[in-house]
């Protein structure tokens, strides 16, 4: 069942080396000489309260922002631009309302100059696995929230990058749908094996999904992130949520974050 | 009314209000009114006269018809048109007995005769009668009226001529626009419509609405007798009358030139009364002649009864 190969010394998919970054117009730095790396095929969550710099981390990784100092490596080297190299699944699904499901899925291919016909064929091949066959000619507003998120994920996957960054993708869903999407995501990832970087502020979600959690605290973040390695085996099933180790870690994290959060 | 005997205040209260809208801004043709005003003739008749100026050329007729003003100074052919539309206006006096309205063009243009207007822009101040006038003139001179580009330019007669936006204008007055333009350094020439088949219609008449006439005939008679007194005084003291006019000029809107108005008054004197016809009187023949001209021009579709159109307030 576990198709994934996990050697001790995997290649590095993403590395922040000595990255310092300050928002334009802002007084204080968000990151100072930050070090972080994500191995190929890993599932890493970025967990932290609102405003702690999780999205900023993502923007740096994806090439939407540039470090003031330090370097961001993709697969061990420094590409000319990181744009187009990292797949992105946003919090709101950001589907284009005037495009059908199929056309939305084709977007990254079109942008990379793939002929329409080929792109459509390519996307169609994925529809079934994403539980979207039959709705490919519908428009986003005709789908439920969970289905729209799956289209959004499909679109990120179709782009072909093997690093996917998910910025709080499930936070707009109700809790049952969220549970189901988490499990579904885990399944997809276990099959396909991309590197997943997952932003969330939900402790349980981070614990249940990830191999490793990078803890974001109030900025500035300096040096290495506080890291938590989740000691659960793969593949994880739904009942992994209640694993005593997880409950213990969760308690720890709640207390830690509460301590830092201060006033609500 | 000095015989009414009440104290000053009640007498003031008894003054009847009369609104009169001029055909244009105050100029020499109105000096008899200002003289009557200044000399207190209106007050003697128990009237408090409010003199208004129009914003649109057809407002004097329209507002008199609508009862918004008591009296309006307007043009004979327009009164005829209004009657055919069933609008109850009545002419109570003729003020200028023949056309002042000439077709004016710049002296340096190559217009030489009315038919040269073919293919040119002729501006007119929105007063409909200018159409049959220009048509009669052009056709009488052997030209094609269809070829003339007639444009409603509102009050912008001088400016459109000077700026070259119009090649000629109809509706400009020989006693006013012409000397003003000359005075301002624009040499102009003009055609007299009467020379090209247009009957010598009354340029300016005083109109009211049937209802007003019925209900306030006394008031209108009183107005006219004061106006006549003003006219007589003006005839005898033209210089002083002009001075009175200049006191009432609408400086910022319509500044007057002494020389121009003197010349103007000169021209007008000959047109406000003639040997046979006293100031203000109207003849049935004149009305009938104008009506049949307009009929010929297909300008009106019905023939109004000349008897109903006018009332001779002047005797």
């Amino acid at each position: 069942m576990n198709k994934r190969y996990r050697p001790e010394h995997q290649e590095t998919a993403l590395e922040f080396r000595d990255v310092t970054y300050t928002h334009k117009g802002s007084q204080s730095a968000i990151f100072q000489h930050v070090q972080a790396e994500v191995k190929q095929g890993e599932f890493v969550s970025l967990l932290g309260p609102s405003g702690s710099g999780k999205s900023t981390f993502f923007r740096l990784a994806a090439g939407l922002s540039h470090p003031d100092q330090g370097t961001v490596f993709l697969h061990g080297s420094v590409p000319e631009t990181r744009l187009g190299r990292v797949g992105y699944m946003p919090q709101q699904d950001l589907l284009l309302p005037w495009r059908t499901i199929l056309e939305n899925g084709m977007l990254p291919l079109e942008i990379n100059g793939v002929p329409k016909k080929e792109a459509a064929h390519n996307v169609s091949a994925h529809l079934k696995a994403f539980g979207l066959d039959g709705v490919e000619n519908q428009y986003p507003h005709e789908l439920s929230g969970g289905m729209r998120q799956r289209v959004s994920f499909l679109r990120a996957v179709v782009g072909g990058s093997d690093i996917l960054m998910l910025d709080e993708p499930f936070s707009a869903l109700d809790s049952i749908t969220r549970f189901m999407m988490q499990e579904w995501l885990l399944e997809q990832w276990q099959m396909a094996g991309q590197t997943l970087i997952f932003i969330t502020h939900d402790i349980e979600e981070a614990l249940f999904l990830s191999d490793r959690i990078l803890l974001f605290t109030q900025p500035p973040i300096e040096g290495r992130f506080t890291e938590i390695t989740v000691p659960l085996p793969r593949p994880r099933k739904e009942n992994a949520r209640d694993h005593p180790e997880l409950l213990k870690l969760k308690r720890e994290l709640i207390n830690r974050m509460r301590g830092e959060g201060g006033i609500i | 009314g000095n015989e009414s005997g009440g104290d000053q205040q009640t007498e003031n209260n008894e003054l009847q209000e009369v609104d009169i809208m001029l055909d244009w801004y105050p100029n020499a043709v109105h000096s008899y009114l200002y003289t009557a005003q200044e000399k207190g003739y209106f007050e003697e008749e128990g009237l408090d006269v409010n003199i208004m100026f129009p914003t649109n050329p057809t407002d004097p007729l329209n507002l008199a018809a609508a009862g918004e003003v008591d009296l309006g100074i307007t043009y004979q052919p327009d009164v005829i048109t209004a009657r055919t539309e069933g609008i109850p206006v009545v002419s109570v006096a003729a003020i200028v007995r023949s056309p002042l309205n000439h077709v004016v063009y710049k002296a340096d243009s190559d217009i030489e005769r009315p038919r040269d207007l073919e293919g040119r822009t002729v501006g007119y101040p929105g007063i409909p009668v200018n159409e049959p006038i220009v048509e009669t003139m052009v056709e009488a001179d052997g030209g094609q009226f269809d070829e003339v580009d007639l444009v409603d330019i509102g009050f912008e007669l001088q400016s459109s001529l000077v700026s070259g936006r119009a090649d000629a204008v109809s509706g400009a007055y020989i006693n006013h626009e012409v000397p003003v333009l000359e005075h301002a350094g624009t040499a102009v020439e003009y055609f007299d419509p009467v020379d090209y088949g247009v009957p010598p219609f009354y340029e300016l008449v005083l109109v009211t609405n049937e209802e007003t006439l019925e209900e306030d005939e006394a008031k209108i008679n009183a107005f006219w007798s004061a106006a006549e007194k003003g006219y007589t005084y003006m005839k005898d003291h033209p210089e002083e009358s002009l001075d009175i006019l200049f006191e009432n000029e609408d400086q910022e809107n319509f500044p007057l030139e002494q020389a121009v108005e003197e010349e103007s008054l000169d021209i007008l004197m000959g047109k406000m009364e003639t040997e046979e016809e006293a100031f203000g009187t109207q003849s049935r023949e004149s009305w009938e002649e104008t009506i049949s001209w307009l009929e010929e021009m297909d300008y009106i579709s019905e023939t109004p009864d000349a008897e109903e159109i006018f009332v001779n307030t002047a005797e």
């Binding site: 992105y88 950001l94 059908t100 | 329209n62 912008e156 400016s159 700026s163 119009a166």
Partner: protein
Amino acid sequence: MNRWKSAGTSYAGAALLAAAFFIIWEAGARWYDTPYILPAPSAVLQRLWELADILFLVHLPATLLVIVTGLAVSIVCGVGIAVLMSRSRAVEKSVFPLLITSQTIPIIALAPIFVLWFGYSMWSKVAVTVLITFFPITVGAFDGLRAASKDMEDLLRTMGAGSWQIFRKVQVPMALPSFYSGLKVAVTLSVIGAAIGEWLGADAGLGYFSRRMMTQMDAAGVFAPIVLLSLLGIGLFLGVKAIEYATTKRGGRRS
């Protein structure tokens, strides 16, 4: 500008109210019986019928030409400026405040001087039409171009899209609804603009004709071309709606 939409639900009450209005007008006009001041709706319709030839063959085309030319100029310039503003913060920051300020200035009051500049040609009327339609078109297009969220643009950039691709694939489709809203406002204003332009000096056109009927005390004749102008306005409005329907895909219209 969703209110255009919400009008499309139930017209029964509105139709009733409109009918009542016309009946009262007709009755009032008959009772008052001074047709040169207050013509009855039936008289206006009759006059429209009598004047149909000249109105439809001479004056309607003249006004339509002014309106179409004016709208075309406004669309070309307005959309152009909107695109420039949406592409550069610097342009936006300099031009937008001026655009806004220009609306607090009654530039339309300058209309009479257009006659001096453009003469009695079509262009003085076109200028008034442009003046009155430029703002809603520009703002509609600009708001629309801005509606494409930063997030969406970033998403496309992470796919490697260049700014032209973002413009074409996100901004333009996103801008259409707002652009059409602006255009709907503009077409109804354009009718007013052309009419005002024609008041200032003209020899043809519905606004001119209406004013000319005023000079002849023919009130029914004043109203008749205005009925046509109204129909023209409504027709243009529906025309824009039809174009909108044809050019925005079904999914783009949110319910």
